[in-house]
């Protein structure tokens, strides 16, 4: 039996993996007792071993067979044909082509797209590979689609970005937990256990345009559901803060001693009185006032047991996502929650290593340890660890959407490495992404299955899965966890560390390129030392001895930091900074041709782009297709009867899926999960407008037309 953690989301449920010794050789996965999952595991975790043996698992490097008449990349992945080649053939050719492109158009013509599911070791090494081996500034990752708004807001206001700056188990003590745009009952079900006590006290508040599985947890007096109009989260927060300040419910002592910027923020909410907020959000002013008072009464300065305000992608994936999170933080600061013994603000990280993946150099503007690539001191420190001249480290690149839309364009990258991401399905405005990917001269995808993105590649390089590798993951609470190898990978497969080392050698990269996760991790520790996300004191030995270690942990005697902000904030002044924000509203307004809001999200059975979970029979059988959740009133308006297929169309594209008529959604809104490809791919419809601060795309709201599929022509 090997103790490790689940391959999927950031809750990182503890697993025990037993290699099969029966005739079938099936690997058995069971949950382990652990504080975050409390012995629980969802259907995805229970069936995770199925991905190890999917029939189309890639076990050899694959090279695209050029189709007659069209250039490399091809127009579509549908008819792509690949041939197996040896590792040497693949890596030699890739390196040669990278070198040629670099010599022709400069190092920035080769780009890297990483993922929030990669271990810390891989994420670190990928960032180093981009800077030292490729010498490119162009690296970013799919975490840009996940955590970037929350990260930007937390850094700006609190001086640091650790999704939850407190252990998840702290929620049990609170009077109120407010979830904004998080459907954790579907996305990380075992986490619901931590809401039990607060639900017993009637204190769960869920903000969501849908009556989601999570919103239903407020039923029967367990709390309240605020079913706001899509894209109005920011206004709702301004309204809550308005009431808190107007009614004198703020923590004046805390604001005076620990926070700057209240004056401007107070003015900014003066324009958002409850009745105006009600008309914009659809949340009645009576409920708004009640929630504001409930939050205040839960706050320590008024004798409460504490309140936690937690955001998910629903609040963050907007063109004003950073400002929305900022408004949530402002509210938490006004109530004196941040750094209180009980209470605070947190972002619920999505991807398995969404936290660690954003700390060690995959982001366009960052170096390991959450250092800024523009900071000369940071460059010097990291360069010393890497054994290079700081001058050789490139400057900041561009964020994900900008990177993707520049691919194959004049002046844009001509080659792309994709690691741990199925970007074709998970990026907004997918038609554009497909065109950009197919216009590349070289696309290299590392994956273990032929994902939709891999099918567009010139080379697919097969990599190890979670149960086959060693490493560390940093969970949603900033705790570093050990991933352990339970079984051997199939023959012919290499770890990403091996691939990167192989390519680095062929590209004559400076520095050392270990293929041993522990050695890479120890280098990561040195690189992160002194940074905001300081892992220096967190060793494999301490983790293997069972210590619960949360970063920052600057040395091996340090106990780690489960709770941040108790004394001060890691800002230049030591005080938190309230930033005044303005409500702008959805990027794309409704209009007569597109009168319905589309919101997107997740279902319990699938993870991210579905590349893994759609291959698990038990998961796929219960959720084989995308669906359109639609209110009975809208259904009757479009003549929908039962389970017909409906077509969703925006300016950018369209998709088709079966209708699910449900009163759980607002009549003016439809919901579609985004895990699906082909005609069920909702990201063909979503808006690629991005947040000016974080680069987060506006996945969560756009204007669409909804019609019966039978009555509309195919295509956009």
């Amino acid at each position: 039996m090997t103790a490790t953690h689940c391959p999927y989301c950031a809750l990182q449920c503890a697993q025990a993996i037993t290699p099969g010794d029966d005739a079938d050789g099936r690997v058995v996965v069971e949950p382990r007792a652990f504080p975050t999952n409390v012995g629980g595991m969802c259907q995805k975790g229970w069936t995770s071993a199925d991905v190890l043996t999917v029939p189309d698992r890639i076990t050899s490097p694959l090279r695209r067979i050029p189709s007659t008449g069209s250039g490399s990349g091809g127009a579509s992945g549908g008819g792509a044909r690949f041939e197996p080649v040896s590792w040497d053939v693949a890596l030699d050719d890739i390196a040669a082509r990278v070198r040629a492109i670099g010599e022709q158009d400069g190092p920035d013509a080769v780009a890297v797209f990483g993922g929030g599911g990669l271990t810390n070791e891989k994420a670190y090494q990928l960032g180093k590979f981009a800077r030292l081996a490729l010498r490119t500034a162009n690296i970013d990752y799919n975490g840009r689609f996940c955590m970037s708004s929350a990260a930007a807001a937390a850094n700006r206001s609190l001086g640091i970005d650790r999704g939850m700056p407190f252990p998840l188990t702290d929620l049990a003590d609170a009077d109120v937990v407010m979830l904004l745009g998080s459907n954790l009952a579907d996305t990380m079900p075992p986490a619901v256990q931590h809401l039990g006590p607060v639900r017993q006290r009637g204190g769960l508040v869920v903000v969501d345009p849908r009556r989601s599985a999570t919103a239903r947890l407020t039923d029967e007096g367990r709390g309240e559901h605020l079913q706001l109009s899509p894209g109005t989260d920011l206004v709702l927060m301004l309204g809550l803060l308005h009431v808190v300040l107007a009614e004198g419910l703020a923590d004046a002592d805390y604001l005076a001693t620990r926070v700057d910027g209240l004056g401007d923020v107070r003015r900014s909410v003066a324009e958002w009185w409850p009745e105006r907020v009600a008309a914009t959000t659809g949340v009645p002013e009576t409920q708004l006032r009640r929630i504001a008072r409930t939050l205040a009464d839960a706050s320590p300065h008024r004798g409460g047991r504490g309140a936690y305000l937690l955001t998910g992608r629903g609040a963050e994936q907007h063109a004003d996502g950073t400002d929305t999170v900022t408004a949530v933080i402002n509210l938490a600061l006004a109530l004196g929650l941040v750094g209180a013994e009980r209470g605070g603000y947190g972002a619920i990280t999505g991807q398995g290593n969404g936290q660690g993946g954003r700390e060690h150099g995959q982001k366009a503007d960052q170096l390991p340890g959450y250092r800024m690539i523009t900071d000369p001191v940071a460059r010097e420190h990291v360069a010393a660890v890497w054994g290079v001249d700081p001058e050789t480290i490139p400057g900041p690149g561009v964020p994900a959407v900008e990177l993707l839309t520049s691919l194959g364009q004049p002046g844009g990258p001509r080659a792309l490495f994709v690691h741990g991401s199925n970007v074709l399905v998970s990026a907004p405005d997918a038609q554009v992404v497909r065109r950009r990917l197919t216009s590349l001269d070289l696309l290299v995808v590392c994956d273990f299955v032929p994902s939709e993105t891999a099918m567009l590649a010139d080379y697919v390089l097969p990599v190890t899965q979670w149960a086959e590798e060693e490493g560390t993951m940093t969970s949603l609470e900033g705790r570093v966890l050990r991933r352990r190898r339970a079984i051997d990978p199939p023959a012919g497969i290499r770890s990403e560390l091996e691939i990167l080392a192989g390519l680095a050698a062929r590209l004559d990269a400076p520095g050392t390129w270990s293929t041993d996760p522990r050695e890479v991790y120890d280098e990561l520790r040195r690189a992160s030392a002194g940074g905001r996300a300081d892992y220096a004191g967190i060793s494999y030995e301490r983790l293997d001895a069972g210590e619960a270690l949360y970063w920052p942990c600057p040395d091996e005697q340090h106990p780690g930091t489960p709770r941040l902000f108790a004394e001060s904030f890691p800002t230049p002044t030591g005080r938190a900074w309230m930033v005044a924000v303005r409500a702008v509203g959805p990027d794309e307004p409704l209009r007569a041709e597109a009168p319905v809001w589309l919101v997107t999200g997740r279902v319990l059975q699938h993870y991210q782009s579905g590349a893994q979970t759609r291959r698990v029979p038990r998961l796929n059988d219960s959720m084989p297709r995308a669906y359109v959740e639609i209110h009975p009133v809208l259904a009757s308006r479009i003549g929908l009867d039962g389970i017909d297929d409906v077509r969703i169309t925006s300016k950018r594209g369209s998709m088709v899926a079966q209708a699910r008529i449900s009163a759980d959604i607002r009549p003016d809104t439809v919901f579609v999960p985004f895990h699906f490809a082909d005609e069920g791919m909702v990201n063909a419809v979503t808006n690629a407008a991005t947040d000016p601060v974080s680069g987060m795309p506006e996945f969560k709201v756009c204007a669409v037309q909804v019609a019966l599929a039978a009555s509309t022509p195919g295509g956009a």
Partner: protein, 496 residues
């Protein structure tokens, strides 16, 4: 375009109220090179006038009224600077503290409170009588509630009703003089009556059918309001909420055309092409607004036209939304109502007088064009998000009355009656039918059912339900059926 170093064109805004403030804020954002001076005659920085009655009610403090200071551009707000004269020849505005030259001038002088012409009020307001227009008015009223136990509010428009509710909230006995019904300009009479019921339920006495004949004054202080039907209402505090009149004096003295307000064209331009007017003081071809929302829209439109050269696309004034901000009352009306509907419009209404509730919808073609909600804040907030959205009208407009939240058909939560297809464990996708099959296969305890189906092993939220199903199966089926049985049992029909 001028660089940041050179002074840009000079814009002077007279009036630092909500509309003047919004204009300056937008200008600073859209055209940072403009030099913008905002002259406000009150000593306060720009504040939210709409919230003054909330200040009276004590639901907000003074600091909470202050509006954002324009953060971008070259915008300066000069509080306590009264414009004395406009010299259009020299293009300058004269103040006690010096002249302000302009290339463009915007008048946002707002309105002044109307004082009714009755004995007692003709030689200035006696002590104890107030209007509600400025911060100082609201502070005075608030201070007066400490001594006055009886108050009369004259005028039952939104401001009067909000003030009456605010005073009542502070524990003062209030009579609201509503000569033409409560909110008579905003509501049709039958609906106004429902609003009147609401006010009375709060303990506000509503005096209808009579106007004010005179105000009784003793020793320079008010002591009663005399109605023209002979009633005498003793009062230590009287608030006049009798409407407002556009502040046009400065414009008229400068020779600009004025009528009810300062006359402007579609582009908000006065008879002098370098002078504009916005907000309560402006009389556009559509009329005088008197509400903040159309004023803000005008400010935005004018800012875009000055900064970007866009043609101002002016909002309609008629039918602008009115949302009462009154402690204990909820009244929202926007767009068309019964009395203003066209013959071909559909008017759907629901009246529930006993519950002091009335909801009315007007649809025209494929859009919701009117909403009136009294005593229905939940519906009002939902319908506010649906107004003027062509393409969203339900097949039957009556369905709009359900709002966003139609309670779903309640699925049976009883382990006995729930259908076999009901999902018991969401985390692992286990239905009641799956549990029954597992039971039939010999898993006859919660633990063994969990091992067989993984129910309860995710978030554990279904443990109680699984226990209930075990209890039910035990009572209906004490002996596990043979594992070889192939008979599919209807799970929702208890076995004998």
């Amino acid at each position: 375009m001028s660089t940041r170093q050179e002074p840009g064109p000079k814009v002077v805004v007279i009036g630092a109220g909500m509309v003047g403030h919004r204009l300056a804020d937008e200008l600073g954002r859209l055209a940072p090179h403009l030099e913008v001076d905002v002259l406000g005659d009150e000593s306060y920085e720009p504040y939210n006038r709409v919230m003054l009655t909330e200040l009276v009610a004590g639901r907000i403090d003074l600091a909470g009224l202050m509006l954002p200071l324009p953060g971008t551009g070259r915008v300066r707000v000069r509080a306590g600077t009264r414009a004395l004269e406009i010299d259009r020849e020299r293009r300058t505005v004269v103040t006690a503290g010096g002249d302000f030259d302009y290339d463009l001038l915007v008048l946002a002088t707002g309105a002044r409170a109307r004082v009714i012409d009755v004995p007692g009020l003709r030689d200035g307001l006696p002590r104890g009588v107030h209007v509600v227009r400025r911060i100082d008015d609201a502070r005075d009223i608030r201070a007066a509630t400490l001594n006055a136990s009886q108050a009369v509010v004259v005028g039952a428009g939104p401001l009067g009703v909000e003030t009456a509710c605010a005073l009542r909230h502070r524990g003062v006995d209030v009579t609201l003089v509503a000569s033409s019904g409560l909110l008579g300009r905003d509501l049709d009479p039958a609906v106004a009556a429902v609003a009147g019921d609401q006010a009375e339920s709060l303990g506000i006495a509503v005096a209808t059918g009579a106007g004010v004949a005179s105000v009784g004054v003793r020793d320079g202080r008010v002591d009663a309001v005399h109605l023209d039907d002979g009633r005498v209402l003793p009062a230590g505090l009287v608030v006049l909420a009798c409407g407002s009149a556009p502040e046009t004096a400065l414009a008229a003295e400068a020779g600009l055309a004025t009528n009810v307000g300062i006359v402007v064209d579609e582009a908000l331009r006065t008879t002098d092409p370098t002078v504009f007017a916005v907000g309560d003081c402006a009389e556009t071809p559509a009329g005088v607004s008197g509400l903040v929302a159309p004023g803000w829209d005008q400010a935005r439109a004018l800012a875009r036209s000055i900064a970007l050269g866009e043609t101002a696309d002016l909002p309609a004034i008629a039918g602008a939304a009115m949302r009462l901000k009154a402690v204990g009352m909820s009244v929202v009306t926007m767009g068309v109502r019964t009395s203003t509907a066209l013959p071909e419009d559909r008017v759907v209404s629901l009246s529930d007088r006993q519950a002091r509730r009335h909801v009315e919808l007007v649809t025209r073609g494929d859009a919701l064009v009117g909403v009136t909600c009294v005593g229905a804040p939940e519906l009002a907030s939902y319908l506010s998000t649906q107004l003027d959205r062509p393409g969203m009208l339900p097949a039957d407009p009556m369905q709009l009355l359900m709002g966003a939240a139609v309670p779903a058909a309640v699925e049976s939560a009883s382990p006995t009656t729930m259908p076999a297809s009901t999902t018991v464990c969401r985390c692992n996708g286990v239905t009641k039918g799956d549990l029954v099959h597992a039971w039939d296969d010999g898993a006859t305890s919660v633990e063994s059912l969990a091992a067989a189906t993984r129910a309860t092993t995710g978030c554990g939220g279904c443990t109680t339900l699984v226990c209930g199903i075990v209890d039910w199966l035990q009572t209906t089926d004490p002996a596990p059926v043979s594992q070889t049985t192939s008979v599919v049992r209807e799970a929702n029909v208890p076995a004998r």
